[in-house]
Symmetry: C2
Subunit: 372 residues, 2 copies
């Protein structure tokens, strides 16, 4: 367990950015994935994330980085979110800029702060298991590591990236921590089966916990200009110069995922620790994942999401998302995905759920941004 002084320095950061293209036409530019209730609990994913983190960090120590367009929706979801903890992006510039800016602001305000970044749109129901792993990761961060939490695989998933564990580390308060050997992209089914059998591979849940100064120093090794921009923004953030600095600096920051700018270089340098997490986790990346979340492990199940859905099903399985008032009838369709919204309808199968992004790309190309 991490000592209390490290936990006292912990700040949670929630980057709430991605639209969730594979969940179109449910997720849209103006209604991104994190603002939807995909679990049937009545809570948006963002609110679920907050509710997991607030008991660990305290509600006053959660920062949300989101787009200007989502400010009202985010604040409505999170009434306890402090004004100074809302960081608005004038335009999306990828995860390094979002998390790095939060790190720089927090380090500027509170040197020595430990930050943990947690996606706004993942699903975890085992809050106790999650908290245990976060506490270990905070201890590893306090020891100078950039820590990540890797989820113990329960099946040969092909929709997630993997973390290949290296040697066991000996960190006080983080007895489960390993060094990270490497990050691995989404594998084929066969490779995923090997990973599962091997036991040394964990799902990459995209959670990073480290001292802010350590994170920024790591970033500076590969992306010095990006770091410089973030430092400049942070220095002006709590001053009257913020607006002008944002206008000048933010649009020129390099767009790069934090996995490439920080995590992989840190792994190569032996500075990345992974804490295995035994809790359930899903990034709910596509409609097949939604179906699985709602099936309770049963196959031959039809998951129905939406407010007051009117669905008539005859010998059909899969997922129906009803975001219109229409009656939806399914007859003899298996593993089907039907997403019904007022202006757009998607019909696919759970097997093809990952390909939904191609529709979004095609719509962009054909100038049909009105439904995106």
């Amino acid at each position: 367990m991490s000592d209390s002084s490290a936990l006292d320095r912990f700040y949670a950061v929630i980057p709430a950015g991605g639209i969730g293209s594979r969940l179109w036409p449910l997720s849209r530019a103006d209604a991104p994935k994190f603002l939807h209730d995909l679990t049937g609990t009545g809570k948006t994913l963002l609110r679920g994330t907050w509710d997991r983190l607030a008991p660990v960090s305290g509600a006053q120590r959660i920062m949300v980085v989101t787009g200007r367009a989502h400010r009202a929706a985010v604040e409505a979801q999170l009434p306890a979110l402090a004004d100074h903890n809302v960081v608005l992006e004038s335009e999306p510039r990828e995860s390094t800029a979002a998390i790095g800016l939060a790190a720089a602001i927090l380090e500027h305000r509170e040197p020595g702060v430990i930050i943990g970044s947690f996606a706004a749109d993942h699903v975890i129901s085992d809050t106790r298991g999650f908290t245990r792993s976060v506490l270990e990761a905070v201890a590893a961060a306090d020891a100078g590591y950039i820590a990540t939490i890797g989820i113990t695989p329960t099946e040969p998933a092909i929709g997630f990236g993997y973390i290949h564990c290296g040697g066991k580390l000996d960190i006080p308060g983080a007895p489960g921590a390993f060094a990270v050997d490497s990050f691995v992209e989404k594998p084929s089914y066969e490779v995923a089966q090997d990973y599962l059998a091997d036991g040394g591979y964990l799902w990459n849940g995209g959670m990073f916990i480290s001292r802010a100064d350590v994170l920024l120093a790591q970033l500076g090794e590969n992306e010095p200009e990006l770091l410089e921009g973030l430092q400049e923004l942070a220095a002006s953030w709590d001053t009257s110069r913020r607006g002008a600095t944002v206008d000048r600096v933010w649009p020129r920051l390099r767009k790069i995922a934090i996995d490439y700018s920080v995590a992989e270089p840190a792994a190569k340098a032996g500075r990345l620790a992974v804490v295995p997490g035994d809790f359930d986790w899903d990034d709910v990346g596509d409609f097949a994942a939604i179906g699985k979340l709602h099936s309770g492990g049963r196959s031959n199940n039809l998951a129905i999401l939406g407010e007051n859905p009117r669905v008539l099903s005859d010998a059909s399985t899969g997922v129906v998302v009803s975001h219109s008032k229409r009656l939806i009838s399914l007859v003899g369709v298996e593993d089907i995905v039907v997403v019904d919204t007022p202006d757009a309808l998607l019909v696919t199968t759970t097997q093809n759920a990952q390909r939904v992004k191609s529709v979004v790309d095609a719509l962009k190309l054909s100038g049909r941004g009105d439904v995106l």
Copy 2:
């Protein structure tokens, strides 16, 4: 060929009644199948039927039997339809009542008339082939037979009833006519293959051509009360007593298909002749049939129907009917049927197209008549 005097006595009757439940939610009580353009020609099926018959009978000699609710729509489709040739049903009472009433009215007006009844919602594109068969059937009718037209099968269809041909008949003007041995219900695929190989089986297209007095006499043998009611209606039809007679008699007429009340008994009695038709024919009984109509014989095809449909398809086949303004996206769904209307959506497969009726039945039972 029939002699001209027989053709001069010919009157075409179009019963325009059935909703087409297997085409729900496209076909509805207030927008039945015959009022839709299912061929992509821009014509409703009713108008297509009229356009096939008018050159044979003359536009002044076509009678349409339809529900009161459809009067305006029918007259809009058929501007040349004479007022006295519109027979309105106060409520649906099946095909014997509809065709029998037309026969009785026409026989009352014009003794010796030959009537031919042709469904309002079938598709035939080979008008010349159709006309040739009708002329032969008129000749057979003139010779005292109740004639039907059986379509030469082109595949082992399981969605149609079949006519088993008996011996060759020797009727002047109807060189192709056979006696009818029996009617056969929709067969299994294996049986349908046997029928196709046998060569002595034709598809039952539901077309009946006979002298009106012969038809009514045949009806009277099995259904004397029904005949009596129809005669009473016919006698009052062109008088001021029509309304009162309809109110009193129509609701009490037995509901029975003309296949059972007339055709099968006539076949048993050796009074039924069948003229083989070599033209294309389809009763467009379900969405799979619509798909086939539009595929032009190609498989791996996606048929798209509707006004200004907006469909984005990726590796998908089947049928899309777009009766809303929504964007419809299909990703990797094969043999799919998607019918999109403002208040109801159907998703099924071409293989399950016949089962759509079960949805309609379920909706009736659950009191959701609003979408039927």
